[in-house]
């Protein structure tokens, strides 16, 4: 009889305990309920990543800047982070009054005689005051040559000294580390970020950048931030990439994931990846705020419409 009573109690108590867990989260933000609810996007930061496949007059670039103008007019975009240096995009963005956050990719840096030469050439063509130096240096999907944190930091420190002396108005941004933890047991990005810190990143007057795409990465980076909070308190932190590859969940991402990012990393800026990632499905296509820009029926995603107030 006792065992039957114990079994019955267990049967009822375990679901009850599970329900208790649902009741409250200490910092749980509101949950996105779909298009019918009022869309609060107070956590949004005005920075969007724009890929640069076009040129002045090309349909890609013209359509992209039409949508950028809408975001800017709605007060949702002050910063443009270029996918790669492009003079036409740079000039158009500057002419619109946007702040340009440029990037020098590891491939471009390594193809040059030295990082200093690569920077100088890029800067003289596009004198942005903010340059991200490399990104996701151990991501085989975007680099022909992978780089260790030790090699990166050696070269980054040399470039830093050069830029401080020759271009003191320029702020460098460290290479953002992987936004997704490849596995829980092998979190490549967070471990790389720890190595950067051990190698002296926090002793440099640069913006600290990370990319964050997953809950695992969020937790792992948060643990590192907790450990180095005193030193990071004096640093400018940028989340240089976040987003989700499902257009129907993008509004929810800003409502639910952005507050977690803010609570854990207190960033000065968060940049959405990305405005447009091509018209063809596959790859990173579904991260885009807009789609089919090379067709007459351009598609504005839920988040884009919510940001620009264009929700029907």
């Amino acid at each position: 009889v006792k065992r039957i009573i114990l079994a019955l109690l267990t049967f009822f108590i375990l679901p009850a305990c599970d329900m208790l867990g649902k009741l409250e989260n200490p910092t749980g933000p509101s949950t996105y309920m779909g298009n019918e609810t009022i869309t609060e996007l107070t956590s949004w930061y005005p920075c969007v990543i724009v890929h640069t496949p076009g040129y002045s007059g090309s349909p890609e670039m013209e359509r992209q800047f039409e949508t950028i103008a809408k975001l800017q007019k709605a007060g949702r975009m002050n910063w443009i982070r270029l996918g790669s240096p492009n003079r036409d995009y740079y000039r158009r963005a500057m002419a619109m009054g946007l702040k340009v956050f440029n990037i020098l990719d590891i491939n471009e840096l390594e193809e040059s005689r030295s990082w200093q030469v690569a920077f100088e050439q890029a800067y003289l063509e596009q004198p942005s005051n903010m340059w991200e130096i490399g990104g996701e240096i151990s991501n085989p999907a975007i680099h022909t040559k992978l780089m260790s944190p030790w090699e990166y930091m050696d070269k980054f420190k040399e470039l830093y000294a050069f830029v401080r002396q020759r271009y003191p108005q320029v702020t460098l941004v460290s290479a953002p580390t992987f936004g997704s933890a490849t596995t829980k047991r092998n979190p490549v990005g967070p471990i790389e970020f720890e190595r950067f810190i051990e190698l002296g990143l926090l002793d440099m007057d640069v913006i600290i950048a990370i990319n964050v795409y997953t809950e695992d990465a969020l937790q792992q980076y948060a643990a590192i931030f907790s450990h180095h909070r005193a030193k990071l308190a004096r640093k400018r932190i940028w989340i240089t990439e976040t987003g989700i590859d499902n257009p129907s969940k993008q509004v929810g991402w800003v409502q639910n994931y952005y507050p977690k990012i803010i609570n854990a990393f207190h960033p000065e800026m968060i940049c959405w990846y990305a405005l447009w990632v091509g018209d063809q499905p596959g790859g990173e296509h579904d991260y885009g705020l807009i789609d089919k820009i090379l067709t007459p029926e351009m598609v504005e995603g839920d988040l884009f419409r919510a940001l620009t107030g264009g929700r029907e």
């Binding site: 599970d18 867990g21 989260n25 200490p26 308190a233 609570n263």
Partner: protein, 207 residues
């Protein structure tokens, strides 16, 4: 080494070590606040716990309990911990008063990180942040110092109903929090020991 093994063997001789083994299940409500300047942050949450405890017949040997504690539902967001406690039961007729102390070890998630952004002309110019300090390795994570090891203590009031029992307990968890005020270049950093009280109910079974 040998004498320690002998001492351990004597301690766990059946005549000494015999006692009662119990399974406890509990649900607790916790709440506390941390403030930094005018930024007041209140935390409230529920957690569930399960533990196995051993109470020895020999009253000179304190009992011990090992268990797990889970906050919320999302492992990345909410904490998951192991607990180890030692207790001393003051037994009355079908009733016990049990003070206990112990340690909590695990990953706190990001639920205890809070930031209040400071704006000027629509731009973020600084922030106030409070967060629980992680300070110890939890090996499966591969992140240095991702976890916490914190003292806990409390009092359980237990009523026995045959082999079953119900209890109410008050618990205190001692955690260190960091408090930061920053404008990204100038900053103040402080640490504070915070008491995190919780109240809960439990049921259990004596084997």
């Amino acid at each position: 080494m040998k004498k320690y093994l002998i001492a351990l063997a004597i301690l766990f001789l059946p005549v000494i070590a015999s006692g009662q083994t119990r399974l406890n299940l509990g649900a607790d409500h916790a709440g506390f606040s941390v403030n930094i300047e005018d930024y007041y942050q209140g935390f409230r949450w529920y957690f569930i716990s399960a533990e196995i405890e051993q109470q020895f017949k020999n009253k000179w040997i304190p009992g011990f309990a090992v268990g797990m504690l889970k906050e919320g539902r999302k492992s990345e967001y909410n904490g998951t911990y192991f607990t180890v406690k030692t207790f001393y039961a003051l037994d009355f007729d079908h009733f016990s008063v049990i003070p206990y102390g112990g340690l909590l070890y695990g990953l706190p998630g990001i639920q205890f990180d809070r930031t209040n952004l400071l704006y000027k002309d629509g731009e973020v110019v600084g922030y106030l942040n409070v967060s629980m300090i992680r300070h110890i390795n939890v090996s499966p994570t591969n992140i240095d110092t991702a976890g916490v090891l914190q003292p806990i203590s409390g009092l359980t009031l237990r009523k026995y109903l045959g082999s079953f029992f119900v209890d109410g307990h008050a618990n205190l968890r001692f955690a260190r929090f960091s408090k930061v005020t920053s404008d990204f270049s100038d900053a103040s950093y402080d640490e504070e020991l915070v008491l995190m009280p919780s109240l809960g109910l439990g049921i259990g079974y004596t084997f």
